[in-house]
Point group: C2
Chain length 323, copies 2
């Protein structure tokens, strides 16, 4: 029931994932049964799905903690519980981020050695994309948390993107080792002493050129940067309009260019990557954007399958146990 277009887009995306993979896995839809049935084909399509009824829905404006307490039968709580009980190998939702994050932590539990589960987000770079971790889940972070973010982010990027020893950078206000606020200074020492491919401090200007595969920061900074980035395309559109009042030739060029610009900016829209994982919990929990399209849901489901197969959680546990 998550996202602005639930359950329509959820069901459409899931069915697409099943067809594309020849029913390689099974999808369990969690939500009000009646509503779900309406979206599903009336005659059996042979697709590998089932329904588990959940009577309640946590909406985007609900406070995470209160909602989880009051709505025990929400699709988020029921779905994640199915996963904990082993009746599902992964959980995917485009619902309330705070609620999915909290429910994942509370119901699935933290991986041994992890003090703060985290959510990362993908950001476009000249080189492709980087993972910014934390993206808003943890706003007051201690050095140890930042270190864990770097470790979990590095494992995720290595396993899921096939990048060997990803470059991990600590987002800071200068490149020198001694720069930053107290948390950053201490995190620098922890990251430097780790087995990670730590490239040191990076600055705000180093993100887009792709200097690091994993950008470590607290969730306050990560959230501000991500939301700022999201706002760039529409700002440019407005400015471009204001600057193309000139001759007819300029107008024509602007018109033709619009398409090119749009596709160049497309990847600034980080939702394209189809969901972000909750890292550090005992399970696979993927959160999508509220505006997720069927395609985004399909990608989220395929990513969830991959994540479950690759057993990234065990790797995180091993990495944090030895260091």
């Amino acid at each position: 029931m998550g996202g602005d277009f639930a359950p329509t887009n959820v069901v459409a995306g899931a069915l697409e994932a099943l067809r594309e993979t020849d029913n390689r896995f099974e999808v369990v839809f969690v939500g009000p049964e009646e509503l779900l049935r309406r979206e599903l084909p009336s005659t059996s399509s042979g697709d590998a799905y089932s329904i588990v009824h959940a009577s309640q829905t946590i909406d985007m404006h609900d406070g995470a903690t209160a909602a989880l307490k009051q709505k025990k039968d929400s699709s988020i709580a029921v779905g994640i519980t199915l996963h904990r009980e082993g009746k599902a190998d992964a959980f995917v939702s485009a619902g309330n981020t705070g609620a999915v994050m909290s429910a994942s932590t509370l119901i699935l539990g933290r991986i041994e050695g992890v003090s703060r589960p985290t959510i990362g987000a993908f950001f476009p770079t000249v080189e492709g994309a980087c993972l910014i971790v934390d993206a808003g889940a943890n706003v007051d972070c201690r050095p140890r948390h930042l270190y864990e973010f770097g470790m979990m982010g590095s494992i995720y990027v290595q396993e899921m993107f096939g990048i060997d020893r990803p470059a991990v950078g600590l987002l800071n206000i200068g490149e020198e080792d001694s720069k930053g606020n107290d948390a950053a200074k201490e995190a620098f020492a922890l990251l430097k002493a780790s087995k990670l491919n730590f490239i040191g401090n990076i600055e705000g200007r180093d993100i887009l050129p792709g200097k690091a595969n994993v950008v470590v920061c607290d969730g306050f900074v990560g959230n501000v940067i991500l939301k700022f980035g999201e706002s760039v395309p529409s700002f440019l559109k407005t400015r471009l309009k204001a600057h193309t009042g000139g001759g007819i030739l300029t107008k024509l060029a602007a018109l033709m260019m619009r398409k090119t610009l749009r596709s160049a900016l497309k990847s600034l829209d980080y939702e394209e990557h189809g969901g972000v994982p909750v890292l550090g919990v005992n399970g696979v929990s993927i959160i999508g954007h509220g505006k997720s399209t069927p395609k985004a849901f399909k990608n989220m489901i395929l990513k969830a399958e991959e994540m479950a197969k690759k057993n990234i959680n065990r790797r995180i546990q091993e990495a944090l146990a030895v260091q």
Copy 2:
């Protein structure tokens, strides 16, 4: 002696300021006399300038505190001391930001009621520009500091830009009153109880649309956002190039569009605004970018004159005394 093109650009900009204003004020050049003489006209031009010799230069890579201790005769220290002694009404430099900030605080002293002097930076918006304060001077901030930044920023924008009761927003990770890290939550309460036109929390995505005239944040977040913003134009240029490999018509359009895009993006280059003030010290101290052009120096000097005349410091003192 500040900036990458010192003293050439400094002298050229100052002379331009004098000519444009018909010697409305006097410029005191501070630096190695011989070097300065070389940049100045050999015969008297009638312009109102003088030279005060300073034998040392703090460069961009010097640590601020160490440099101020070791180089007692630096152009920064000598210039700011002239200002404190009343031999100059304002100080302008494109030198080492940390050194100018430290020297301003140490030599001029803090305004009564100010616990942390700050540096703001101008950022382009759809509406024109906003002031992001703090821009990197204070990385670990308490709620009281954030409140002071809002107060000082509001007075500066009101007096210098003629915006009546500027909209002050607290940069945060959500719009709800209860959002944010500990410092932001408490700063919210202080700002709300103040006499400012406080519009509440704003998010990263609200900066470019110009929701606030003054964006309050700690210097860590401010610095990251500013540097990220600076990197957007070159990122787009690279992406545009990658996307215009197609037909000759697209290439032609791209070529024609380049100019338009450049001018649309120009204001993302916040240096255009010609320097940022150190707010909260007993004096007028303006810091310019290391790459400042003669025009930027001219603008900085004109802004310094205006700031001195408007007596912004007294207003800050009054505002922080009553609240």
